[in-house]
């Protein structure tokens, strides 16, 4: 490698964009050429210096407030003015720092007939589903293997969630995470159907008798209970496919 090539490629090396062969060649040159080694040292120092957090310009609060005030749809939603527990509090409780920027969509609290606690829980499950679609938020444990997913929950929950392998039925398991519904920590299992995501929330309890599927804005939530556990499956899948998923899930052999 020549000095001219080194002058260009040392940057790719610093940025971890150089392949192994070129990296070796570059390092060999740096070992043999004082001028390039000095240049490299300067750029490494410069990189470190540029990583100082004080150079990063964070958005001022006033700008966030301005966006909220003028966001075209936030205004009508907020006119419902329903007292609600913000997903922010839930997110913080669950340690989802990444969810900090989520505002609480007021319509979530109004999805079904008001007044019943059960409806509020389902609405929160839908909210959790939406929250999970945020990048890096879908899974805390990513695995297609239920034998990995199930133990991951051990010690993180006060119950042992039921994890089922539905890959053979066309619903591969993608992973799991903790979420919060109704103020309690619940298990959220993530399954996939083609490009769609299905969140299955579960926690100990009983669903109301004969819960109806709930549909709004392209999302469907189906609620059921069994074995002392309460479940809500949420997805943007069409209702027929989500029903099929629930059927397979209920009939699938539990993992012991």
């Amino acid at each position: 490698m020549t000095c001219d090539e080194t002058r260009l490629l040392l940057h790719a090396y610093l940025d971890d964009e150089l392949d192994a062969a070129q990296s070796a060649s570059l390092l060999a040159h740096l070992g043999a050429c004082n001028a390039c080694a000095a240049r490299y040292a300067d750029h490494a120092q410069l990189r470190t210096a540029l990583a100082q957090p004080a150079l990063y310009r964070r958005a001022p609060d006033a700008l966030r407030a301005r966006w909220r005030a003028t966001a075209p749809v936030a205004a009508p939603a907020s006119t419902t003015a329903r007292p609600r527990r913000g997903p922010l509090a839930f997110a913080l409780a669950a340690g989802f720092a990444g969810a900090l920027l989520l505002t609480s969509p007021a319509w979530i609290g109004s999805l079904r007939a008001p007044g019943t606690a059960d409806d509020a829980l389902v609405a929160q499950a839908v909210s959790g589903h939406l929250r999970s679609l945020q990048p890096q938020h879908l899974m805390d444990v990513a695995s297609t293997d239920r034998h990995t997913v199930k133990p991951w929950f051990e010690g993180r929950l006060d119950f042992s969630p039921e994890v089922k392998d539905l890959a053979g039925q066309g619903f591969p398991l993608a992973g799991g995470r903790l979420d919060v519904v109704g103020g309690r920590t619940v298990a959220a299992l993530v399954y996939r159907r083609h490009l769609h995501v299905i969140n299955v929330f579960q926690w100990p309890g009983e669903a109301a008798a004969d819960p109806q599927p709930y549909r709004q804005h392209g999302y469907t939530a189906i609620e059921w209970s069994g074995g002392g556990m309460r479940y809500v499956a949420v997805s943007d899948l069409n209702e027929a496919e989500l029903r099929q998923f629930v059927r397979e899930y209920r009939e699938g052999a539990p993992l012991r």
């Binding site: 000095c3 260009l8 940057h11 940025d15 990583a51 310009r57 966030r64 966001a71 007939a113």
Partner: protein, 189 residues
């Protein structure tokens, strides 16, 4: 409450919720890029506000993928359209000569002393870079984008990204180096 209550804007409500979940996590990233490109708070705030409105308008055409890259590309375009004076056109003539045009300045290895890397010096040096070089540095060093992501944000080839980064860093290095008594040609052979 029945669905009728939302008949006015049902799609908008869910779009907004998705938008908030997918795009708004990159609010700081949007501001950081805008602030470094336009170099003052008021203009940067206008750019971000306008960028988010545009992003929301186009959100229906966002088909998954990297929302940060998508938003940053919108912010960049908004900077250059709202603030034509920051546009890269004025510098373009000197930026198409790529790889071989690395500047040759810099202290000689023997005389080398530490670069001035205090925050104030760095900030001034960054602000002195022409926009096409400043944007790659900000995306790479502050936003920690990969070359591929920078290429996607700026609409350039990866090779262009790499050579611009090299040029930008050489400029910073020269700018931050203490004046040298002898012009160094020692490092070329």
């Amino acid at each position: 409450m029945s669905a009728d209550s939302f008949a006015a804007a049902p799609t908008d409500a869910v779009t907004m919720a998705r938008f908030e979940a997918v795009v708004l996590p990159w609010f700081d990233a949007a501001y950081n890029l805008a602030r470094w490109l336009v170099r003052n708070d008021a203009d940067a705030q206008d750019v971000v506000q306008e960028s988010l409105l545009r992003a929301l308008r186009y959100f229906g055409s966002f088909r998954g993928g990297d929302a940060r890259v998508w938003l940053l590309a919108i912010v960049r375009n908004t900077c250059y359209t709202l603030h034509a004076r920051h546009a890269p056109e004025s510098q373009r003539e000197s930026l198409d000569d790529e790889v071989l045009a690395l500047p040759d300045e810099g202290p000689s290895p023997e005389a080398r002393t530490l670069l001035a890397v205090d925050i104030g010096s760095l900030q001034q040096a960054l602000e002195r870079l022409p926009p096409p070089l400043r944007e790659v540095i900000v995306l790479r060093e502050l936003e920690e984008c990969s070359y591929k992501e920078i290429a996607a944000v700026t609409g350039q080839k990866i090779g262009t990204v790499m050579s611009r980064l090299a040029r930008a860093r050489e400029r910073l290095r020269a700018d931050l180096s203490p004046p040298s008594t002898e012009a160094g040609r020692h490092d070329v052979r």
